[in-house]
Symmetry: C2
């Protein structure tokens, strides 16, 4: 067992900044991990060890002194990179080499990160899945759409990875693979150089090995985000089941309720929160808007190469064609009103808790299960974190979701640290 098998990015960068570890040694460790297991996992769609080594060897000031000095990062393949092709898992974009990095990739490099390669996504971050397997059980999906980033994290290929989320694309794989994940508030992270799907929801997020790593990457990718550290002590949590609670597997529900008991035992207050009935409509409204915006975002591909689109994308576009402009406007207007109602419901609580997924990672690679518990909060642009519940060897992971108020990302990161401490302390 080596330090780098479990060290978080915070620790790795500190070792690199103080010259106790070289970026080259760090890179070789993670390359060795990929050599051992990548053929079984298939996290990468593009991985070139020479490109990784060149970055590590070329690291100079200010990167070598940066917050992510020498930290390898996996990048979902709907995010442009200048030294790797960017294919969106679509044959339409075979051999597409962007002229410049996406904004977030440039910020990572400026902070000293080493881009490990491009990780498998579903086609255009929608539903058509790739070959990636869940490292915790090769017969199960790692979740989608940020499949390669999540599987690569769980396999130890990199300690940080970028994903994106429109419904549950970042948090669902985190729940299935047992990862810490952070999806910031809508609009905080630049999407320049990232393929849009449904721009009302699309948000970049990331995986890390600890809650503090989620905050560390936030410092790099959200310039100006304030740092909030409240003293440890009792917090006031709400637990919100949403109208989809009947989807939750009893074993998952038991694990979550046990986690709630541990939070209470640690001195926190947890109150069950019921939502007004009209919030049951949120799931359908998210789907409808996702369809209509997805159809517009992929209209050029639909017009130029419909035969190269998967059945799931074609079905999305067909559903959009069957939706009127007024239906889409009404769905957006409902969400705008409900956002104010939800804000009032949040007010008495420091942070909201929920389940991330109602089931553990399902068997098979072609479907990845519902995303209702993620997309409910996505519909309002709220920041979300997945905390993997502690588990016994051999058990598949279950995720606890922690949700913050809009733009209260710092308070959410702080609260998630308290939750994690209570569960593991």
């Amino acid at each position: 067992m080596s330090f780098l098998d479990t060290a978080d990015a915070h620790s790795i960068a500190e070792q690199v900044r103080t010259a106790r570890l070289s970026p080259g040694i760090v890179a070789e460790h993670f390359l060795a991990q990929t050599s051992a297991r990548e053929s079984a996992i298939q996290a990468f769609v593009a991985l070139d060890p020479q490109v990784v080594r060149k970055q590590a060897q070329g690291l100079s000031s200010p990167g070598i002194n940066g917050l992510l000095a020498g930290v390898p990062v996996g990048v979902k393949d709907i995010i442009d990179t200048r030294d790797h092709p960017t294919g969106f898992y679509s044959p339409i974009y075979d051999n597409n080499w962007p002229s410049r990095d996406a904004h977030v990739v440039a910020l990572l490099r400026q902070a000293g990160a080493v881009i490990m390669g491009k990780t498998h996504t579903t086609e255009f971050a929608y539903m058509h899945t790739g070959p990636t397997r869940n490292p915790l059980d090769l017969n199960r999906t790692p979740g989608s759409s940020s499949a390669g980033s999540a599987a690569g994290m769980a396999a130890g290929f990199f300690p940080v990875a970028l994903g994106t989320q429109t419904a549950g694309s970042l948090l669902k794989p985190a729940a299935y693979c047992g990862l810490y994940a952070f999806k910031p508030s809508y609009g905080l992270v630049s999407l320049e150089g990232i393929k849009p799907l449904a721009p009302s929801f699309d948000t970049l997020g990331w995986y890390g090995r600890s809650v503090r790593d989620l905050g560390l990457v936030a410092q790099v990718l959200i310039p100006g985000l304030p740092h909030v550290t409240r003293p440890s002590g009792p917090r006031t949590f709400g637990f919100c089941r949403t109208a989809s609670w009947d989807q939750v597997d009893p074993l998952v529900a038991d694990a979550l309720l046990a986690a709630v008991d541990r939070l209470k035992a640690a001195g926190h207050s947890v109150t069950m929160v019921e939502l007004p009935d009209e919030f049951a409509q949120v799931f359908d409204d998210h789907l409808l808007i996702n369809d209509c915006e997805g159809a517009r975002s992929l209209s050029k591909e639909w017009q130029s190469s419909p035969e190269l689109l998967s059945p799931s994308v074609v079905a999305m576009i067909e559903r959009a064609k069957g939706t009127t402009w007024e239906q889409e406007s009404a769905a957006k207007a409902r969400l705008a009103v409900q956002a104010h109602v939800l804000k009032a419901i949040f007010a008495p609580f420091d942070t909201m808790l929920s389940v991330t997924c109602g089931m553990v990672a399902p068997l098979g690679l072609e479907t990845t299960g519902p995303s209702d518990f993620c997309k409910f909060w996505m519909a309002f642009g709220l920041p979300q974190i997945n905390i993997p519940l502690p588990r016994q060897p051999g058990e598949m992971p279950v995720g606890l979701q922690v949700i913050g108020g809009f733009r209260e990302d710092s308070a959410l990161l702080d609260a998630a640290g308290q939750v994690d401490l209570a569960l593991r302390g």
Copy 2:
């Protein structure tokens, strides 16, 4: 005087589709216009006649039968194009050649358009101006930031052009150069491959030679936008002065009020609308959010090459550093609440009218005047159209602004047609 000097895109494409005009002839006409006047106007940052000819000659099905068959289009240089460099008017991006077209450029090509070249923008579509002059008076600014697209339209270099708007970047140049312009509702047009400035506001829009051309391009760039044609007849307009009305030059105010009289004479109803006092805050809130989001959008350039940024961008970033997270959150929350109030104020009217700019194009090229009357509606994502008031030879143009409800772009286009008819009919 040739047909192509004044023909709108609708007429040109019809001639091309029916083989009465070849795309090559059309391209040569507009290239000849640029030969005659481009050295005085400087609308283009990149113009290659061979690239234009190659597109025109290569036009085949389906483009040759498309809605924009053979129509030359100017493209603002913050929009990626695969056959021209894209420089954002920043030395940081000298010789940047994107690997693929922005989504909107791809849609234009699919509809048969010919990309004429890249038009001058201010640096990153913010405030630092380029060399472009107003074709109606070379001593005056064409407005910013879509300077080259607007000036090229007024000079007859192309019959359609793309611009973008975050505050007044599309409509202000339209007012100064006497153009029809359409800024759709926020979120309807894909921004893939367009450099972000303030993502809460950034919207692509376009210039055309007629109101019907504004609608024609909308059909191409907003797939699924319904077509609304109400029978001609009396409309119920509101006229909203906003809290910035004291900025309006008396001659501009007189011209607008004369236009209102013509609308009334044509049988329409025009009611003066007063806004509650708290709406005076909108201008400052827009500025504050623009600063904070602009600073995040340009954070990679600020970190890598601060010495290559203009004083205006640096000042924006410095203002953002002096703004707290809570101030930005509060500004966004105010706008979200006010959007609902404004919706109720709009309800009794078919469409709202206002001034586009409080002055005609000012003398000089370095500053371009305030954008308050544009950015007020931008803050709420509402669709906006500029209609140039009829004018005498030698007079500088004045713009009437027509504003629609959110996502009611089709109704706005229809109403703008009625306004234009009343003013010119």
